[in-house]
């Protein structure tokens, strides 16, 4: 039987933008199962990033409910949400967002610091992941010694270091050329297949979406297909 990881049920999200109330999500429902490689696509401002943030326990819906492994996220305290993010979710961002003062290896292990994981254990795990991602010779480089594609691969390793249930990626190829973009998606798909990890990827670039198991098209805060 397929395990449901995420269930989004009739979710609405309002934002205050100065004087105006923006209705960013207007009744979104979706289900994501274990091992899915899911794309959420749509034009900018359609609400796709907002949806990703809600799934990633970074924000709570104004109305409706999100179930994470069957548990309601809206009823959880911030501390519990950060624990869920730390233990069950991996994030990949558009602008890589690595910490420039740390080496690639330290960037990969940084999610484990609050859990107090032994440094040598963390490093072994990180180096294994980095080798899989073709970063074996870049372990002690700092982010500004790495190309965009390499930085994003470091970010992918970081998103997987805590052995999450689901990895969320917000425009992961937004700042690289299409060759590098394809390479990054190859790596994401590889990790998805190898570890049976669930991936949810937001993009506006339709070039890559043929690789997806499921594609949600979102427009004006609603899923249109």
């Amino acid at each position: 039987m397929v395990k449901k990881i995420i269930e989004v049920k009739d979710v609405h999200k309002y934002f205050k933008m100065g004087e105006n109330l923006v209705h960013a999500l207007r009744g979104v429902s979706m289900t994501i199962n274990q091992g899915d490689f899911v794309f959420i696509i749509g034009p900018s401002g359609s609400g796709k990033s907002t949806l990703l943030h809600l799934i990633g326990a970074l924000d709570v819906p104004t109305d409706g409910e999100i179930y994470f492994e069957g548990k309601k996220l809206s009823q959880m305290e911030e501390d519990i949400l950060s624990t869920i993010r730390r233990k069950k979710i991996g994030f990949i961002f558009q602008a890589f967002n690595l910490m420039t003062s740390l080496t690639a290896l330290e960037n990969v292990t940084i999610p484990l610091v609050p859990s107090g994981v032994d440094e040598s254990v963390a490093n072994t795990r990180a180096i294994k992941l980095m080798k899989m991602l073709g970063l074996g010779d870049r372990i002690n480089h700092t982010p500004n010694q790495l190309s965009g594609g390499q930085q994003q691969r470091v970010a992918i390793a970081r998103s997987l270091i805590n052995d999450p249930i689901i990895v969320l990626a917000d425009e992961p190829t937004g700042e690289v050329d299409s060759v590098t973009g394809n390479e990054i998606f190859d790596y994401l798909r590889m990790m998805n297949k190898k570890f049976n990890k669930t991936f949810v990827i937001v993009t506006h670039d339709t070039e890559y979406i043929k690789r997806g198991d499921k594609i949600f098209k979102i427009h004006d805060g609603k899923i249109v297909s």
Binding site: H53, G56, L58, D59, E78, D79, S82, T83, I84, R85, R86, K87, I89, G90, F91, F93, N97, M99, T100, S101, L102, E106, I110, P111, V113, P114, R158, S159, N162
Partner: protein, 383 residues
């Protein structure tokens, strides 16, 4: 966590150094000021602690050098049953030694004022009870009654002017033969020169029936307090004080000086604290995006708080230790040049480092709170 904090500080070297400098200056200020105050207190206590008996001076005279007391009252005081012996002394300054102004020589010699004390060798040396401990004569001998132009030099003077027993020394234009050198280990008494009292009277133009000061030794050392009151009551125009009474006077003066020093120091500390606050606030604001990311990948508010406070505690502790080292070095350099008693006590050292560390802690709290309360989505988007 500490490792990441260190890395973050090292990644902005200039800013970290500037913040440290502000702190170092503050700590140097504290160490410098308090070392002066501690040094003076220590010197005063050391000298007053050695003071025996009761000092009798002209009423309201500011120093023994400006005081004149009548030799006649010696007999009067010695008639008190509890009194053992009364010694007269004449005090003056060695304004020139071997024709050179003492102060310039003094600078290179490690400071202090060369004090000439005219004594009665028989009364001072013979009794074995007086302030001059003849066992501290490390070369030669103490003065004796037949001496005229003979002098006992303190160790510092002897070293500074390269004198030994048998040398001739010219004090304020008069030639003396060095008969002894004494070493007390105290910077003030090692700058003293002892000569016979009659010669001292001539040197400082003091009438033959006068002395600068009398020292009254009691048969029972515990009787000094009561005898000082008795002398003031019975004899006109004199002040009589024991060492402990002096110490009480002096420490009340230094109590207020201490408050003054600490007040100036706290301003320095405050400035250092504001510096840390400013640095940490800037550094946190520059890294909003980093903190947003850390929150997104599961760091809790308190994890972020801990990271920022760790950074500022490191700043504080390193600044405190560097400031202590710089302050200590400066004090050691300044001490001989200024000829001023300065002392970095262990207590002061611990206080300085703890103070700077807690400044780091306090200065980091507000920026840390700001960082921990960030909304991760906004911090990542706009950071």
């Amino acid at each position: 966590m500490w490792k990441i904090a260190f890395r973050n500080l090292l990644s902005k070297k200039t800013r970290t150094l500037l913040a440290l400098m502000g702190l170092v200056i503050a700590v140097v200020g504290v160490v410098g000021l308090i070392s002066i105050s501690d040094g003076i207190k220590n010197m005063v206590n050391e000298s007053l602690g050695k003071l025996q008996g009761v000092q009798v001076l002209q009423k309201d005279s500011l120093s023994p050098m400006l005081s004149r007391v009548d030799m006649k009252i010696i007999k009067e005081i010695e008639s008190f049953p509890e009194v053992d012996i009364v010694t007269p002394r004449v005090f003056g300054i060695a304004s020139s030694i071997d024709g050179k102004a003492f102060l310039s020589g003094g600078m290179s010699m490690g400071g202090g004022i060369g004090e000439i004390i005219g004594i009665d060798p028989v009364k001072e040396g013979a009794s074995g009870k007086t302030g001059f401990d003849t066992s501290q004569i490390t070369q030669g001998r103490f003065l004796k009654s037949s001496d005229t132009y003979s002098a006992v030099l303190g160790k510092k003077i002897a070293d500074g002017y390269k004198k030994s027993v048998g040398s001739v020394v010219e004090l304020n234009g008069i030639r003396f033969k060095v008969v002894g050198i004494w070493t007390t280990g105290s910077s003030s008494t090692d700058n003293m020169i002892l000569i016979p009292i009659d010669i001292a009277r001539k040197m400082f133009s003091i009438e033959s029936d006068k002395a600068s000061m009398l020292t009254v030794y009691t048969k029972d050392p515990g009787a000094v307090e009561s005898i000082s009151k008795k002398i003031e009551l019975r004899i006109d125009n004199v002040d009589a004080k024991s060492g402990s009474e002096y110490a009480a006077d002096v420490s009340s003066v230094f109590g207020s000086l201490d408050i003054f020093f600490w007040a100036i120091s706290s301003i320095a500390v405050l400035v250092g604290g504001v510096g840390i606050l400013n640095t940490m606030l800037m550094s946190v604001m520059e890294r909003f995006r980093d903190f947003g990311i850390l929150k997104a990948i599961g760091w809790s508010n308190s994890n972020i708080m801990t990271l920022v406070v760790s950074e500022s505690i490191i700043l504080g502790a390193v600044g405190g230790m560097a400031g202590l080292a710089a302050g200590y070095t400066l004090v050691e350099i300044a001490k001989p040049i200024l000829g001023f008693p300065m002392q970095v006590t262990p207590t002061l050292a611990v206080i300085a480092v703890l103070l700077a560390t807690s400044l780091g802690l306090v200065g980091g709290l507000y920026p840390a709170r700001k960082a921990s309360r960030l909304n991760p989505i906004e911090a990542i988007r706009y950071g």
